[in-house]
């Protein structure tokens, strides 16, 4: 066996093991806590999520969007007041999948962080406040902009398909928001630990504290 072949083989082994040892979406400790707090089925859901995410890890953004959207849309819809006793609560992905229920913002949050885990560029993802003509109420969807000027794709908990914005006549966009793409006016440098959006900042804090 030539030296080149040995090197190639070792490289393949390294890639294989690095994939095996890649950081999971939910680490073992947190998963243990989730299991303790919710139940065995919650653990199962997270393991299934990990499996689903691993399946599209090396796929295109569109595949990732579709997989994430379809996975989370299986979670039951339930208003915040019913789950948390509060009119508007942004749940962490662990609370959302742990309880296996949530409202529109919770779907958007979970999809957003799952896509970030799948290395989708955060600048392409927006939390979009919309009005749903179908339900005649305020609603939130996750939008994906391939480029800043391109037509966005909509990830909605009421629709298992990821559609272009122009195909969603039932939604009227009101406001896009991306918490990760704020720049200092003078310098153009990204601001670390800077506030961007009240609710989003609270959510990030909860995520940091591993709120389940």
């Amino acid at each position: 066996m030539s030296k080149f072949k040995i090197f190639f083989f070792i490289s393949l082994l390294f890639v294989h093991f690095s994939l095996l040892w890649a950081e999971p979406y939910v680490d073992a400790t947190l998963l243990e806590k989730i299991t303790k707090k919710y139940n065995f089925f919650a653990k199962k859901r997270f393991l299934y999520l990990q499996k689903s995410l691993d399946a599209v890890k090396n796929k295109s953004d569109i595949k990732k969007l579709e997989k994430v959207n379809s996975f989370f849309n299986k979670v039951k819809y339930s208003p915040d007041m019913k789950i948390y006793g509060k009119p508007d609560y942004w749940a962490t992905p662990w609370e959302f999948l742990g309880r296996d229920r949530g409202d529109c913002e919770d779907y958007v949050i979970s999809k957003y962080f799952a896509l970030l885990y799948l290395k989708v560029d955060a600048k392409k993802l927006f939390f979009t406040y919309v009005r749903s003509s179908k339900f005649k109420e305020a609603h939130m969807v996750l939008t994906y902009f391939e480029t800043p000027r391109s037509e966005p794709l909509v990830l909605d908990n009421n629709n298992f398909k990821v559609l272009k914005a122009s195909q969603r006549k039932d939604l009227t966009p009101i406001y896009h928001f991306n918490g990760e793409s704020l720049y200092r006016v003078e310098t153009g440098k990204e601001i670390k630990n800077q506030k961007s959006h009240k609710k989003f900042d609270e959510l990030k804090l909860k995520m940091k504290r591993k709120k389940i």
Binding site: F126, T143, F145, P148, R149, E151, P152, A165, S166, P173, I174, Y175, H176, F177, N178, S181, L182, Y183, R184, V185, E186, G188, I191, Q194, K195, S196
Partner: protein, 641 residues
């Protein structure tokens, strides 16, 4: 620096650091909250403006109009709108006016108003990012006001803190003040017992320890005082009759035989009892002793009419009665009365009056006599009395003719006092061991003109007789304090004040006024010498003088000391800087008496000074007795270092 000051300083520094830290943290916190507020305002504005801009459907002219309207109506420093490619669409910035805060504050505090951003979208499309920065001039003003308020409140807290700290320290260290006072008293040779025992353990131990030590010193002094008293009784008192003895008379006589003596003369009566051997044989020793005691009582009773009289037993059969200011006629009457009384007593003891009788020799002495002259003249008179029929004989002193008559002296002294012709002549008091001047005695002269000077010994007796001595001393003190002699600057000087002047009404008040106005300016350290007779009265007047002298840093010395006192507590109470006694007094003291005296004086820090030391031989004997400080002729003979 005292412990109180050190602790106060340390705690003040601590308080200052603490307050400065609190102030700094408060100010930083205020700064952060102001910046937070600026961001929140900017964020709210950015969000609401970005929502409004969404309705412009990407029309730049409408968006810039909206931004202008917002900018002009609000407190913004800058509003920037960039498109999705980071290209500038519109930028509006405030041209800053002068901020109404001091320039040092602007240099000290750097407020960087945070920039808040919001996404701007139109329908599903992104328009760009809107960045808003609030105007920080209001924040500067607000922070400046906060800083001033913090400084004022911190200063008030600091002042209140210092006051509270001071009160607390005073309360906590109060026992220490007591300890300090006690320690200072010990340094001044005062021995006080602290009554209030502090509760703080360490202070309590110190106070109890010091009290214990002071108690022991006091007990030691009391013992020494008792011992001295006992020795003095042994030395001065005749056991059989309870009268004073020959030694006492000799030690006491210098007080009577001096130019400024209170009395110019009188009668010294020498009494001899004849037939004592026969009496002993006839009635026995015990009865003879009773007879002697009865006679002594008679002598004592007759002498009491004369102030400062001394009745003493000179030897087994001879007695002396010194009667100051007693006239010749009165002396003879007194002698007759004593003779008759003694005759009766002799008969009472069933003795033969022709065998057992007394003879009385009267000598009319005056202040110029020496002790030797007085005693030998008295003995002569007694010898004459023994040979006379009436057993009484009066011998007169040879009258010396004065250079000037009484009236002439009176006029001369009056004029000298009026024209202020009084001057000082300093005489050295020397420590013969260390060969150093201890202090200077200020003697008084009357300097009439360049060539005519009358010394103290010359004019003081006539001045006394003319009743002008107090006037002279008033003038002396006036001159000493009002026109101090600069040649005496930085020296230690003593001024002797006689008993009569000290006890005279008005003297204390005069001195008090004089000290109050002039004592601070006195260029030399003054020691006022008072006679032991005045000191051991231990009366209110002595206490007042002591307090007055202490108040104006004037020391007190004692002269004419012979140790005749019922106790020596007065030495502890008044703590004179020195005790002066005749050189002979020290030489004739028993070792026990001198040791007891030394124990008191050394403990109290009182020096012993021998006065009237005229010869080197006497000085040598004094040095052998550890009496090193002397005055008299020898002080001029000692070679000083």
């Amino acid at each position: 620096m005292t412990l109180f000051k050190q602790i106060a300083f340390m705690l003040s520094i601590f308080l200052l650091i603490f307050l400065a830290t609190v102030l700094t943290l408060n100010f930083k916190s205020a700064n952060n909250s102001v910046q937070e507020r600026l961001y929140e305002d900017a964020k709210n504005s950015a969000t609401s403006l970005s929502l409004s801009l969404g309705s412009a459907n990407g029309d730049i002219s409408i968006m810039t109009t909206m931004i202008n309207a917002n900018f002009d109506s609000g407190n913004y420093r800058r509003i920037v709108l960039k498109d999705v490619d980071e290209a500038l669409i519109y930028d509006r910035e405030l041209q800053r006016d002068t901020i109404d805060v001091p320039s040092w504050f602007l240099e000290l505090v750097n407020i960087e108003a945070p920039v808040a951003s919001a996404n701007v979208s139109s329908g599903w499309n992104q328009v760009g990012i809107l960045s808003v920065q609030s105007d920080d001039s209001y924040a500067y003003k607000q922070l400046y006001t906060i800083l001033i308020d913090l400084l004022i409140s911190s200063s008030i807290i600091f002042i209140i803190g210092l006051i509270v700290l001071n009160l607390l320290l005073v309360a906590i260290l109060k026992p220490l003040k007591g300890v300090q006072k006690q320690a200072e008293a010990i340094i001044r040779n005062e021995f006080i017992i602290q009554q209030s025992i502090p509760s703080t353990v360490e202070f309590k131990d110190v106070v109890l320890g010091m009290n214990n030590m002071v108690s022991k010193v006091k007990a030691m002094l009391a013992k020494a005082s008792q011992e001295l008293k006992y020795q003095k009784e042994l030395e001065y008192i005749d056991k059989v009759t309870g009268l004073k003895n020959r030694k006492y008379l000799i030690d006491k006589l210098p007080e009577y035989l001096k130019v400024d003596a209170a009395s110019k003369g009188g009668i010294n009566m020498m009494i001899s009892i004849s037939g004592m051997i026969e009496a002993n044989e006839q009635i026995g020793h015990k009865e003879v002793d009773k007879l002697l005691l009865s006679m002594a009582n008679i002598f004592d009773a007759h002498a009491t009419n004369y102030e400062n009289s001394i009745v003493s037993r000179m030897n087994g059969t001879e007695f002396s009665i010194l009667l100051p200011d007693c006239l010749e006629k009165d002396g003879l009457i007194l002698a007759k009365n004593i003779y008759n009384s003694c005759q009766k007593i002799t008969k009472g003891f069933e003795l033969d009056a022709s065998l057992t009788y007394i003879s009385l020799g009267l000598y009319e002495y005056n202040y110029k006599d020496s002790i030797g002259e007085l005693l030998s003249q008295s003995d002569n008179a007694l010898t004459q009395a023994k040979f006379s029929d009436i057993k009484i004989y009066l011998a007169k002193a040879q009258t010396t003719v004065d250079v000037m008559g009484k009236d002439a002296w009176r006029e001369l002294i009056k004029d000298a006092v009026k024209d202020k012709h009084i001057s000082f002549a300093p005489y050295k008091v020397v420590d013969a061991k260390r060969k150093k001047i201890v202090h200077n005695i200020l003697s008084i002269n009357l300097k009439i003109d360049k060539e005519t000077i009358y010394y103290y010994g010359q004019f003081m007796a006539p001045a006394n007789q003319a009743g002008l001595s107090s006037k002279i001393y008033d003038n002396v003190l006036d001159m000493m304090f009002k026109t101090p002699d600069i040649s005496l600057k930085n020296l230690v000087c003593s001024l002797r004040l006689p008993y009569d002047y000290l006890v005279e009404e008005g003297t204390f008040d005069k001195m008090h006024k004089l000290f109050f106005t002039h004592a601070k300016a006195l260029p030399f350290r003054l020691i006022v010498e008072v006679p032991d007779k005045f000191m051991h009265q231990n009366s209110i007047i002595v206490k007042n003088y002591k307090a007055l002298f202490d108040k104006y840093n004037i020391d007190m010395g004692v002269f004419e000391f012979i140790g005749e006192s019922v106790d020596y507590q007065y030495l502890q109470e008044f703590r004179p800087v020195y005790i002066k006694a005749q050189g002979d007094f020290f030489l004739t003291q028993s070792n026990q008496a001198l040791v007891a005296l030394r124990l008191i004086t050394d403990t109290m820090g009182i020096s012993l000074i021998a006065s009237g030391v005229m010869q080197m031989d006497m000085l040598k004997r004094l040095l052998d007795k550890d009496i090193n400080i002397v005055q008299g002729k020898v002080s001029e003979m000692i070679k000083l270092l």
